[in-house]
């Protein structure tokens, strides 16, 4: 088992005929993901990669193929429209890769999703992957993953690949790796994903990779303290970042005491997480925690 996606996920790629969309859709398919449809307005009726039907609208794609997960490669200015279109069509999981979505567009999208059955992952995220079910819905390099029992949840892209490759190098496979995104407003946060890992019998331990900005790690710490029943290993990036400056991610900025890495590490340590002191030691810390736990 895995969380959010599995071998039965029927994946739709919005923006499938674009440069990024076609490149990554092909990589997902190579990995084994069940890409059942593409959507590009005006390109309906064609085939992607000679096999995947392309539709003019998400509504049509869902109606014809039963797609229930959508991977969006739509440029940021058009992402709100694409996310709302997917939600209106009843897609269960919407994965928005685009960086640079205006924050008020995300605010409107989150408001639209209230009371609907769709979950948004991102924006500005690498997507998610479940190596055990060969289901990759995102832009991460598939080859670094291996199937196993460690769950990974992260605000970052490449730092997650780094963490995963450390795990894989030590023989620690992953159940699901979820990139929640580096924007200040995102659809799925740490607590949402932790709750799913908590209920997943195939996940033994979770690696949480946070960063400066906001207080989502503190909320996660609160949840871990109160309700989480598995070991947690955490790393917070940006301990050396200066206050008031945006560090790449729109959400990575220290605007108050809570937003600093130190405060986040303290909260996680208080909640019982094994706080990793150096990004070089993520894998080693997990290995240690796994051996301690078993």
């Amino acid at each position: 088992m895995s969380i959010l996606v599995n071998g039965d996920s029927r994946i739709l790629v919005q923006g499938v005929t674009g440069r990024e969309g076609s490149f990554h859709a092909a990589r997902c398919m190579e990995y084994g993901a069940n890409v059942v449809a593409g959507v590009t307005p005006g390109r309906g009726g064609s085939l992607f990669n000679d096999t995947v039907p392309v539709f003019n609208s998400v509504e049509q794609a869902v109606g014809e193929t039963g797609a229930n997960v959508s991977l969006l490669f739509v440029p940021a200015p058009f992402a709100q429209d694409a996310m709302l279109e997917a939600a209106e069509a009843g897609v269960e999981l919407i994965v928005c890769i685009a960086e640079g979505v205006p924050v008020l567009d995300t605010a409107r999208t989150l408001r639209y999703l209230e009371g609907r059955g769709s979950r948004l992952l991102g924006p500005n995220c690498p997507g998610l992957i479940s190596p055990g079910s060969r289901c990759k819905v995102g832009i991460m390099p598939g080859a670094i993953h291996m199937s196993g029992r460690v769950g990974v949840v992260s605000r970052s892209g490449t730092l997650t690949y780094e963490a995963v490759s450390q795990l894989t190098a030590l023989g620690l496979g992953q159940s699901t790796c979820v990139g929640i995104g580096g924007d200040p407003l995102i659809g799925t946060n740490f607590v949402d994903v932790l709750a799913m890992f908590n209920d997943d019998p195939e996940t033994d331990l979770v690696v949480l990779i946070g960063e400066i900005g906001g207080s989502m790690e503190q909320e996660a710490a609160q949840y871990i303290k109160e309700s989480f029943g598995k070991p947690i290993v955490s790393f917070i990036a940006g301990a050396t970042a200066p206050p008031g400056k945006r560090m790449g991610h729109a959400g990575a900025i220290i605007t108050g005491a809570d937003a600093a890495a130190e405060a986040k590490n303290r909260a996680l340590r208080d909640a019982g997480a094994a706080v990793v002191p150096s990004p070089a030691l993520i894998g080693a810390t997990v290995a240690e925690a796994m051996s301690g736990a078993s």
Binding site: F23, R111, G157, S215, K245, G248
Partner: protein, 367 residues
């Protein structure tokens, strides 16, 4: 805003102060908060004093808690009629991460930075979230106004101000509109003594009128150059230049550098889809920084191919990299090819495969 005009020279400041009746508040116009505390704002009691204070500011740089150590250039001053202050309030609208939408933040303890109020008098802070489905409502404005202790005419005035700044916030896709301080004037009205807005870069495509307003002189030349190249770059105080792909990995790389007893010279995220030219520009930006004594490249290739990174580095180093030691850690696509390109180039490159190796080898770099 109280009456006033902009001065670009000390003589203009003197004239405006005289026009205002001989008393004025003179304020440095820079793109940063905290200027009052930094000595960029002064109440002057004569035109002569206005001239002198203006002369001391114009042409110099103002360092506030938000400008960084290099400060921001002062090219213009605002000379305003002094408000008859009888209580300073803070009022702002921003985007709240927890509620996922716009939020008003207000406090009767204005006049200082809101972070300070949050630390010292958190109970004085009022938060009022806005539902974007219907927008900011008058009943919410009254609630905030009452929380600030306002009544009657002032409550109405505050509500009108809040409604205006919310409209401005939404129409212009801002991430912050801040009035600090908001004061009750002698005649009982409300005056926004100082205000600040933050634009959202990601939404400028819908606001060409705002995109044109930027003043590149307010950023450092290296930041302007990086921004033009689509590179995410922040200058820091150390000596190890860092070239990384991905914001999280870039921050983690900075942390690694510090963990090894060195300090990073910069945050630099070259992005996931960089080409040779972009990598070269990133290297050039670091080489142009005199405080950079060595360069660490940390690339975890997904889309970004190592051979392209290697070629970009070579292109820039070839020109002026002599004497700046280079450490390269690349993982992912075409990593062998990338290594060969660098190894065969004659450059003195230290290679690392893992972050642990990077950490070890960093300790050998010059401070």
């Amino acid at each position: 805003m109280p009456p006033g005009r902009v001065a670009a020279t000390p003589a203009e400041a003197e004239v405006i102060c005289r026009d205002l009746g001989g008393r004025a508040v003179v304020k440095a116009q820079v793109y940063a908060g905290g200027r009052g505390k930094a000595g960029g704002v002064k109440l002057v009691d004569s035109p002569q004093e206005a001239r002198e204070f203006a002369a001391s500011l114009l042409g110099g740089r103002l360092v506030t808690v938000q400008t960084g150590p290099e400060g921001a250039p002062v090219r213009r001053l605002l000379v305003e009629e002094p408000a008859d202050v009888s209580g300073e309030m803070y009022l702002a609208v921003t985007v709240d991460r927890a509620s996922g939408g716009p939020m008003f933040i207000a406090s009767a303890s204005g006049g200082v930075e809101i972070e300070e109020v949050a630390a010292t008098r958190p109970e004085s802070i009022i938060n009022e979230g806005v539902d974007v489905a219907v927008g900011f409502q008058p009943f919410q404005a009254r609630r905030v106004g009452r929380g600030l202790g306002l009544e009657g005419k002032q409550l109405g005035a505050a509500a009108r101000i809040m409604t205006s700044i919310y409209t401005l916030f939404m129409e212009k896709d801002l991430t912050l509109v801040e009035i600090n301080p908001l004061v009750v004037s002698g005649d009982g009205g409300l005056v926004a003594v100082d205000a600040k807005i933050d634009l959202e870069d990601d939404a400028l495509f819908r606001h060409p009128e705002l995109a044109a307003m930027g003043d590149p002189e307010q950023e450092s030349p290296l930041e302007v150059e990086a921004s033009k190249a689509g590179i995410s770059y922040v200058k820091l105080g150390g000596s190890v230049g860092c070239l990384v792909n991905g914001a999280g990995l870039a921050m983690a790389t900075m942390d690694l550098v510090q963990g090894a007893g060195r300090l990073p010279a910069n945050f630099l995220d070259v992005g996931g889809s960089a080409d040779e030219g972009k990598v070269a520009r990133a290297v050039n930006i670091m080489l142009a920084d005199p405080s950079v004594k060595s360069i660490l490249v940390n690339i975890f290739g997904g889309i970004l191919r190592s051979d392209i990174v290697a070629r970009g580095i070579l292109a820039a180093y070839g020109e002026k990299g002599a004497g700046v030691p280079l450490m390269v850690r690349m993982q992912g696509t075409n990593v062998e090819e990338g290594r060969e390109i660098l190894a065969g180039s004659g450059l003195d490159v230290a290679f690392a495969s893992t972050l642990l190796e990077v950490e070890e080898k960093l300790k050998a770099l010059p401070r």
